[in-house]
Structures are given as C-alpha cells and as structure tokens.
Amino acid sequence: MFNFFSELKKIVEKEKLIEKYNIINMSGKILYVEGHKGICQLSKEIITFKVKGGIIFVEGQNMILNELSETTLKIVGDIKRVEAM
C-alpha cells in the first residue's frame, strides 16, 4: 500500500532528521499526529503534547481528542494554530 511518509523519506537524504514525528493538518479541521510522547495539556481551546525534541502547541476552538493511542493522536475541531516549540 502506498505510504505517503515513506515515499517522502526516500527522496530526502537526511532521514534521521525527519524520523521524529509527523503532523498532518487537514483543512484546519483534523490534525493527525504520529510519534507523540504524551499529552501535556488538554482543553477545548488548547491541546499540547510532547514529541521527540520538543512540544507541539495546538490552538483552536471546540477541539476534542478524537483518537488517542500510544504513538498517534487525532484532534478534531476548529484548529487555528499549530506551533512547534
């Protein structure tokens, strides 16, 4: 099956740099994350979570954590800003 991230990795030379985490923002309504290391803050307006080498800050409205597993999560709502710190 075609894997978008795997294909992307093949064409980038320094693979190790992009093995930390993957984030996909779909039209500001769905945010899919691979490689998270745990949630730091959870509310309808702000969700923050740890990734390898930093923290991701997601700001929005009416956000819920639609799916949560050990390494992946999916946020659904009106996503205004995604910031890596």
Binding site: I39, I64, N66, E67
Partner: protein, 371 residues
C-alpha cells in the same frame, strides 16, 4: 472512522493528562472531550471497559457516569434480559406443543356447514393431528350424510379442512320436466310434436316466455303423466335495433395528461400520502388498491388514484354524412337481439327524423327452429 460500539466514561478528578498518557499505552481511547479542568468524558472499546474502570479507580479519579452503546452491546445485553428470554422460551414451547393439535374445523362446499361441523366435533375423538384418521372420517361423513357425492378431509396446518360436494339429482329422477318455452316474439310456422302436450298451433302469434310444449300427458282415464317434452317447432321471429344520431353532441375525451396520488392505508386510516392539489379543472379518476405486505400482522394497503385530464367538445355533424355508419350500427344492435341459429329471411330499416336528432330503426325477420 465512526465507532458504533463503545463504552463511555465520564470522570472527575485532577491531572487527567497523566492518566490519559498512562491509559493510551495499553488501550485505544477516542472522543476525549474535556468540558472543564476537572471533568472529562472519553470512550473505549467494549472489551476494554473493565480494565479501564479499574485503572480509573487506581489513578484516584471518580467515575461520574458510564454506559455502553452499539449494536453488539444491544445484542449481548438481550441475552442478559432473563425475563424476555424466559417469555420467548415459554412461547416457543407453547407454540411447539399446540402445533400438534387441531385448532379449527373448516367446511367447504354447498351444504349445511354448521351441521357438518357439529357432526365432526362430536365424532372427532382426538384433537392431535397425527391421531386423526382422515379416511375413516371421510367414510363416516359419506355414510351419515346421504346427499354427499364427494367428501374429502385433510389436515392443513392446524385446520381440519372438510371439502364436500352434494349430489345433483337429474330432473328425471324428480319426475319434473321443463316445458319448451319461446325465447322470442313471433309466429308459429311449423310443428312436429314427438311427445308432450302442445300449447300452440300453426299460425299462432306468440310472445317471449310463452309455453310451446308442456311436459305432461293426460291419458284417457284422466291421469297425468310427466315426461320430457320433445318437438320441432319452426318460428318466424323478428328483432329490432336502433341507433340515434344527434346533430349537436357534447363529447368528453381524455387529453393524455395524468396525475397519480398514492397513499398507504392501515386499518382504514391514511398512513402516508403524497397528496397534492389536482391541477386539472376537469378529470376522470381511476382507483386501484393492493396489499403492500403479504402478512396479516400489519395489513398495509397501497392505494393509487390516477387522475386523467379530460376535455369536453361540442361536435356538430350532418346525418347524411354518417348515414351508412348509423344504419350499420342499428343493424348490429338488431343482430345482438337475434339468436345465432336464426336464418334471416328479410331485413329493412326506416329513418325517423326528430328535433335535433335522427333515429334509424332496423328490423330483421328470420326463422328459428325450437326443439
């Protein structure tokens, strides 16, 4: 992906992020909705609910509410409703046991059904289907009711169906014979009597329904004997037919446009309809209805009303232009009143003119052999 089967927890407590991080290591969590800092709801898979519950309690959180939903949950919950299960089992056992018994007796045929039913009820020594001897019951019914020519007994479902045919006694056995009767108005032209009493003579004018030969003979001692009347009588008969032409006539015809209104009826009450305002100012309606389901539990009936638009036109015509058509129509009407065995001797017509109409009268004279 929308998950239909889940267990929802509503929890209360602090430091929920740490709890979710711990929980997500072992279980899949979805729809985490944090309403405020201390209250939160989330869903887990049905199979994980017991382990998640114990984990919540171990983390010092309080469960405010929890419930399961989904078709799989409903299916398994059904098996924990012991009352319903017991009722289904009891009904099944009762249905199984009573399926061996006859519950109804139906008598078909042209006979006194109540009398036959009463006889069967009195003589049926068992109600169990496998113990009923249909053949002996047939014999018993034939012996008891002498006027039965045919008796059939069969077990259909939980019904004992008795099919009866009564014997038809020919009129000769009753010593009664039908007289020969004229079916037309006419004049008697020839008579060849074989047996019976003649009621007419050659040259007599007779009317429809008049007796020609009676099935009785009186001997010299005045005794009356019944016998089948036999004779060959030739009648001269006549038949009339007419058709009327109107100089001005209003004719209603369909334009070809139609509107269909469908409705579903249950126990005489309209359940659903797509009724709309009929846009036709003049229309004819045809109505059809048929059962929507084949069971008797909910007898839905589908009714379809078809409205055909019509228009009325005034047609003006001259009789002379359509004269031949009306003469032929009058002849056809006349032939319909005539026997197909009649031999046509003469035919003529006359035209009567009235106010705004013209009538064609057609008369056919024919001979007919009655026997």
């Amino acid at each position: 992906m929308k998950r239909k089967n889940y267990h929802l927890f509503k929890i209360k407590g602090v430091n929920q992020e740490r709890f979710f991080n711990a929980l997500s290591k072992s279980f899949f969590i979805f729809d985490v909705d944090r309403t405020d800092k201390t209250h939160c709801s989330f869903k887990v898979l049905l199979k994980d609910k017991d382990k998640v519950r114990s984990l919540i309690q171990n983390n010092g959180l309080m469960i405010e509410e929890e419930f399961s939903k989904g078709p799989i949950y409903s299916f398994f919950k059904f098996f924990s409703c012991y009352g319903i299960l017991a009722a289904i089992c009891l009904c099944s056992i009762f249905y199984f046991l009573q399926s061996f018994r006859i519950e109804r007796i139906e008598v078909w045929g042209d006979c006194d059904q109540a009398l036959v039913q009463e006889y069967i009820e009195n003589n049926l020594n068992t109600k169990y289907k496998n113990k009923i001897d249909c053949q002996s019951l047939e014999r018993s019914l034939s012996d008891h009711f002498e006027n039965f020519s045919f008796v059939s007994v069969a077990v259909v479902g939980q019904t004992l169906v008795v099919n009866v045919k009564t014997s038809i006694i020919p009129p000769e056995m009753d010593n009664e014979f039908e007289s020969i009767i004229s079916e037309y108005d006419g004049i008697v032209r020839e008579i060849n009597l074989i047996q019976g009493t003649l009621k007419v003579e050659v040259g007599d004018i007779i009317q429809k329904g008049q007796i020609l030969v009676e099935g009785k003979v009186v001997n010299s001692e005045g005794e009356v004997f019944n016998l089948e009347p036999k004779a060959e009588i030739v009648l001269e008969i006549w038949a009339e037919g007419e058709s009327t032409h109107f100089d001005e006539e209003l004719v209603t015809t369909r334009t070809g446009k139609k509107e269909v209104v469908t409705s579903v009826v249950l126990f005489g009450q309209e359940f659903y309809t797509n009724k709309k305002q009929i846009s036709f100012s003049q229309y004819e309606m045809e109505s059809f209805s048929k059962p929507l389901t084949k069971n008797n539990i909910l007898p839905f009936i589908l009714t379809e009303n078809i409205y055909y638009e019509t228009k009325t036109e005034k047609i003006v015509s001259n009789f002379e232009d359509v004269k031949d058509d009306f003469i032929n129509q009058a002849k056809e009407n006349c032939l319909q009143n005539l026997s197909s065995y009649a031999i046509i001797k003469n035919e003529n017509y006359k035209i009567i003119e009235g106010a705004g109409c013209t009538t064609v009268k057609y008369v056919i004279t024919a001979t007919l052999k009655v026997s």
